[in-house]
């Protein structure tokens, strides 16, 4: 780990100003915000993140969870994962988010990790995390060691010839199915970005993972008002029963009316380079009857463009089964 300066601004504006000095808000950032630190400190110890300045935002008033005027829910960026997971409104109206959060990490980590930090969680690709190996995400232009390497855990959707790293988050899969909006404050202005547009696929710039620019800070996440009568499912498949990243996961928001699927959102985890919303699956489901044949068609549609690497071909079939089961579970009220 390198030495760094540590500041603790008293306001969001000050935090933004401090971070605006950084040339990038992406990999290689000279200034980093620290909240729970569960990703950042880990990567600093590995010399993967080498910020010169750490801006501690933990004392900023961004930890509230409250209803907005439209009946949606505002989750402050500093709300801890465990608090969100057990929040009564989340449990009642957005249970898929609670399920996703509780399926991730460990109680200790969830007590530290924040909503905003989880949105920016970095990949667990072993080559990204080890500076002895080439990695386009860590050091652009050096090459991708994962392609042709140890890539069992890595992505099959949204990959490029330069990067196949998986987005490891559970929370973000649920937020994608819930169509969350991310509130951002920057040096010049505030903006709202739908989560679907927040993340970038790697393409030829895997070091750029999202739309954040220097100085921009996530202040909150907004969930739209709840959908009455919808069923929610987060299903996570993994090698061991706890404290383990997904091989494949699926977040489903489904409302059936008159025997037809009226509202459907399908998001996938463990298989995409970003939290993966499957518009293809949704298209195959909406307006159809919620039966197994429909679900299988939807799962196949979701994975039609999957490109497995040398070790993870099984994920195509596993993700297919995950989607079918999660959809099946979503036909039954909790």
């Amino acid at each position: 780990m390198d030495t760094f300066t540590f500041t603790q601004p008293a306001t969001v504006d000050q935090a933004v100003q401090a971070a605006a000095k950084s040339a990038t808000a992406q990999q290689g950032a000279q200034v980093r915000f620290i909240a729970g630190g569960t990703t950042l400190v880990d990567l600093m110890k590995l010399n993967v993140e080498r910020p010169r300045e750490i801006v501690d935002i933990n004392i900023l008033p961004l930890d509230r969870v409250e209803l907005n005027a439209e009946g949606g829910l505002i989750i402050g960026a500093l709300a801890r994962n465990s608090d969100v997971a057990h929040h009564p409104t989340v449990l009642r109206d957005y249970p898929v988010l609670s399920q996703a959060l509780l399926s991730g990490a460990s109680p200790q980590l969830r007590n530290m990790a924040t909503t905003g930090g989880n949105l920016l969680q970095r990949t667990r690709c072993v080559y990204f995390r080890d500076t002895a190996h080439a990695c386009n995400k860590r050091e652009p232009g050096t090459g991708c060691s994962a392609i042709g390497g140890h890539n069992r855990m890595l992505a099959i959707l949204g990959t490029s010839k330069d990067c196949i790293a998986t987005n490891p988050s559970d929370q973000n899969v649920a937020l994608t199915a819930l169509e969350a909006t991310i509130q951002i404050q920057g040096p010049q202005a505030k903006r709202s970005v739908p989560i679907h547009d927040f993340y970038l696929v790697p393409g030829s710039t895997p070091n750029r993972e999202n739309v954040l620019e220097p100085g921009e800070i996530i202040t909150s996440v907004t969930l739209p008002s709840p959908i009455a009568g919808a069923n929610f499912t987060y299903l996570k498949l993994r090698d061991r029963a706890a404290y383990e990243f997904a091989l494949a996961s699926a977040a489903i928001v489904m409302k059936v009316s008159g025997g037809k699927i009226q509202h459907i959102r399908v998001a996938l985890g463990g298989v995409g380079t970003k939290p993966w919303r499957s518009l293809e699956a949704e298209k195959a489901l909406e307006g159809h009857s919620p039966d197994r044949a429909t679900f299988v068609r939807a799962a196949e549609a979701a994975l039609r463009n999957a490109k497995p690497a040398s070790e993870n071909a099984f994920k195509v079939e596993l993700s297919r089964r995950c989607i079918v089961r999660a959809l099946t579970m979503s036909t039954k009220s909790a």
Binding site: M1, D2, T3, N47, R124, V126, R129, D130, A132, H133, S145, G148, G149, H150, M153, L235, L237, D239, R240, A241, A242, Y243, E244, F245, L247, F314, E317, L318, R321, C322, V324, R325
Partner: protein, 769 residues
């Protein structure tokens, strides 16, 4: 190293002392076999037990090794110019500026024969190539990261396929024949029923919770090394040779160990690095390995590839059994994994061969890992037995029972105590095996498919030499000590129980002292031999201390027993009394000591090797077990979990039911790791053990724990020593992996012959609800 070689090693002084006393044949008191919490438990739960890296000293500095980033080649340049100028950095050591350190030739076993920094050659990824030393840990880490090393890489291999060309079995340079009887080749060729499959097990990393660490102090003459060691005496013997100093100038201290699983049996190069750094700087040096280094630098269970051939008659007679196996080893060290340990005697057959070959890979040196050899060996043997049972359409428990034997057909000796049959029978009953329907996928539990599997288990029983000291103190307490150590399994508690049994002093008043090479030499904690080895010495020391008390009782002025011979007296319940009377008729032993103004009555004891005080040489001694496993299989989402385990163990007498049960439950969970999760993966492009962290090398969590039912047969082995306790470190893991894969087959129809079982394997199952 074969287990038999390990036994030879721990029993090196074979002409050594026999027990001075004849082993007692009397039934022990209730403290033997009691379910007692660890005597060191409160220290651990309050955080006051100090492990190696918990030691801090004034002026202490920190050392962080730099690992090679190639798997083979030469170091062409080491640039320390940046690192040396960094804040707090004291020095950067490497092969060009290191003190001379030596190989060891005798009196102790090292793990890597090549001492650190011996030359400029790299043999495996992660090999230490430099050492940064600084005032703080963070400064040393930063400096280590700033050392720039240039290499001239050479060809290497970490290939997982071990089918390298080599001469025929038994030919010069070819595989060694470890056991042979009859004509297995010819008999197999003409056998009506044949099983011929190859089973592979991956490299596994020990991953004890506590990292390896050394805190080294040099006082101008003597080294004091705080270590996490399963063998303080061996560590002393090796390090005195490596450092080139007399034994009296080294002391090794290892009071508490956050487990070892075999990985801490023999010294690793970091110990010499820390010791030399302490001498060079004349300051205490702390060197703690990172989890990442735990995967490269301190051993692993080597990869095995085992061809099993079983010839049988249609009615289930085992005509022949051949196990031809290979394991990988490092470039510099010949570590032979004894996969055929149990094969020659587990089942009755007239024709048998076990052969073994080493295949060199550019990996760190392998080292024993819980049940070395036997555990991967039994995966192959017991998997093949399951496949044979299926082919014969016989129940796998019945097939094993029908092939049971009470004679070791390799050594042509009876077993000292073999109860495999009872293990299988008791286990069947507890598990409910008679309800099993053999067809694949035929058993259901709600929406899940159940799979039931079984495997037999075995582990060698051994006993080395040991010394121990017991003091019975004038304050009514006792102290027992030996230069052994407690790897977390309960040795502190067990030795207190022995003293309590002999003296009647309650365990709570007995201080157990272990973990220093300055104590009377005690056993290495390895091979499940420590309990069997240390008990006779402790028992004898206690008896000798009691003799002092009784002699004093007959001679001390004012003693109620004045004039009595020691033979007329006894000590029980902590009281001295006439032999033919009850303890309450006598007086507390400390009253006798007071009368004679003795601070303590002291006794020394020695254990001779196996058979030195029994007829053991005429018997074959092993522990046995049976593992029954249930898996739940949800084919719709390819989800499998081990839901129930019944483990029945025949390990002789159990000294402490609680710590023993704890070891067995831990072994079951470790078995789930071996069966379903664990594999150290070397990147074939560079030799890096690429999953070198706890997120990518996964072990079971609490949520993976099944319902575990453990039964000890608790039948004393009359040949192992006084109490008949054989030791239990490894037996609980033996047989777990093949029982899991048998259950997996029963549920899914997928036979996994290459551990671990993965989703990739299971997804090919055609069994559906």
């Amino acid at each position: 190293m074969l287990f038999s070689e390990f036994l030879d090693f721990i029993q090196a002084d074979k002409a050594g002392p026999n027990g001075h006393i004849q082993a007692s044949t009397a039934e022990p008191t209730a403290v033997i076999g009691a379910s007692l919490s660890r005597v060191d438990g409160p220290l651990k739960t309050t955080g006051s037990a100090r492990y190696a890296s918990d030691y801090n000293f004034p002026g202490m500095v920190y050392a962080v090794p730099v690992g090679a980033t190639i798997a083979s080649g030469k170091i062409s340049n080491i640039d320390t110019s940046v690192a040396e100028k960094m804040p707090g950095v004291l020095t950067i050591l490497h092969h060009s500026n290191f003190d001379h350190v030596y190989r060891n030739a005798s009196g102790g076993r090292n793990s890597e024969q090549r001492p650190p920094f011996e030359d400029d050659t790299v043999y495996y990824w992660g090999q230490y190539v430099a050492l940064a030393i600084a005032e703080t840990f963070a400064q040393a880490q930063a400096a280590a990261a700033a050392v720039k090393i240039a290499y001239t890489p050479e060809e290497f291999s970490v290939a997982t396929d071990l089918s390298d060309p080599m001469p025929a079995i038994g030919a010069p340079g070819g595989p060694r024949i470890l056991s042979h009887r009859g004509d297995p080749e010819a008999v197999f060729a003409s056998a009506p029923i044949k099983i011929d499959y190859t089973y592979t097990t991956p490299a596994e990393t020990h991953n004890p919770m506590e990292m390896h660490a050394t805190v080294a102090i040099f006082d101008g003459k003597k080294f004091t090394l705080y270590e996490s060691s399963q063998g303080v005496m061996n560590h002393l013997n090796v390090m005195s040779q490596v450092l080139g100093v007399p034994k009296e100038n080294v002391e090794v201290i290892s009071r508490f160990i956050g487990s070892g699983f075999g990985g801490k049996l023999f010294p690793w190069p970091h110990s010499a690095l820390a010791a030399v750094a302490a001498r060079r700087l004349n300051r205490p040096v702390k060197l703690t390995l990172s989890r990442k280094m735990m995967f490269a630098n301190v051993g692993h269970r080597p990869r095995t590839q085992q061809r099993m051939r079983l010839g049988a008659t249609p009615d289930g007679k085992l005509l022949s059994l051949s196990q031809d196996y290979r394991n990988h080893t490092s470039i510099n060290d010949d570590i032979r994994e004894n996969c055929g340990e149990a094969t020659p005697f587990l089942y009755s057959t007239a024709n048998l061969q076990v052969s073994s070959a080493l295949v060199r890979r550019n990996v760190g040196t392998p080292t024993p890992m819980r049940g070395p050899g036997a555990v991967p060996g039994l995966f192959a043997l017991e998997s093949a037995m399951d496949e044979l049972a299926i082919k014969l359409q016989k129940d796998p428990v019945q097939l094993r029972l029908s092939l049971d034997t009470l004679t070791d057909e390799e050594k042509n000796k009876p077993f000292s105590s073999r109860h495999l049959k009872e293990c299988l029978e008791v286990g069947s009953k507890k598990f409910g095996w008679e309800k099993r329907t053999p067809a694949v996928g035929s058993m259901r539990k709600g929406d899940l498919i159940l799979g039931w599997g079984v495997a037999a288990a075995s582990w060698s029983a051994g006993r080395g030499i040991s010394e121990a000291s017991v003091s019975l103190n004038v304050d009514g307490s006792a102290r027992v000590s030996s230069g052994s150590q407690d790897p977390g399994t309960g040795t502190y508690t067990v030795i207190a129980q022995i003293v309590s049994d002999k003296t009647g002093i309650p365990v709570t008043r007995i201080q157990s002292v272990l973990g220093s090479s300055s104590l009377p030499p005690g056993p290495t904690s390895g091979g499940s031999t420590a309990t069997a080895t240390i008990i006779p010495a402790v028992a004898e020391a206690a008896v000798n201390a009691i003799k002092v008390v009784l002699t004093t009782a007959g001679s001390a002025k004012g003693s109620p027993f004045l004039g009595k011979q020691p033979a007329d007296l006894a000590m029980s319940s902590g009281r001295v009394h006439l032999k033919n009377q009850t303890p309450d008729s006598g007086v507390p032993f400390q009253e006798i000591l007071k009368l004679a103004n003795l601070g303590s009555a002291n006794g020394e004891g020695k254990t001779g090797g196996y058979g030195s005080d029994t007829d053991g040489k005429n018997f074959s001694s092993h522990s046995f077990g049976a593992q029954f496993v249930e898996v739940e299989w949800d084919p719709g989402i390819c989800h499998l979990r081990v839901s129930r385990v019944v483990s029945v163990v025949d390990a002789g007498r159990i000294i402490n039911t609680k710590t023993a049960r704890n070891q067995m439950a831990g072994a079951v969970v470790m078995g789930i790791g071996m069966g379903l999760l664990e594999s150290t993966t070397y990147d074939p492009r560079n030799g890096h053990p690429i999953n070198d962290n706890f997120a990518d090398y996964i072990v079971p969590t609490s949520a993976d724990h099944p319902e575990i039912d453990i039964t000890f047969l608790d039948i004393p082995d009359p040949m192992i020593g006084e109490y008949g306790a054989r030791g239990i470190g490894e037996i609980g893991l033996a047989g777990m992996a093949p029982a899991i894969t048998a259950a997996v087959y029963h549920a899914t129809g997928v036979r996994v012959r290459d551990l671990p079982v993965r989703v990739e394997d299971l997804i090919t199952s055609t069994v559906a609800i």
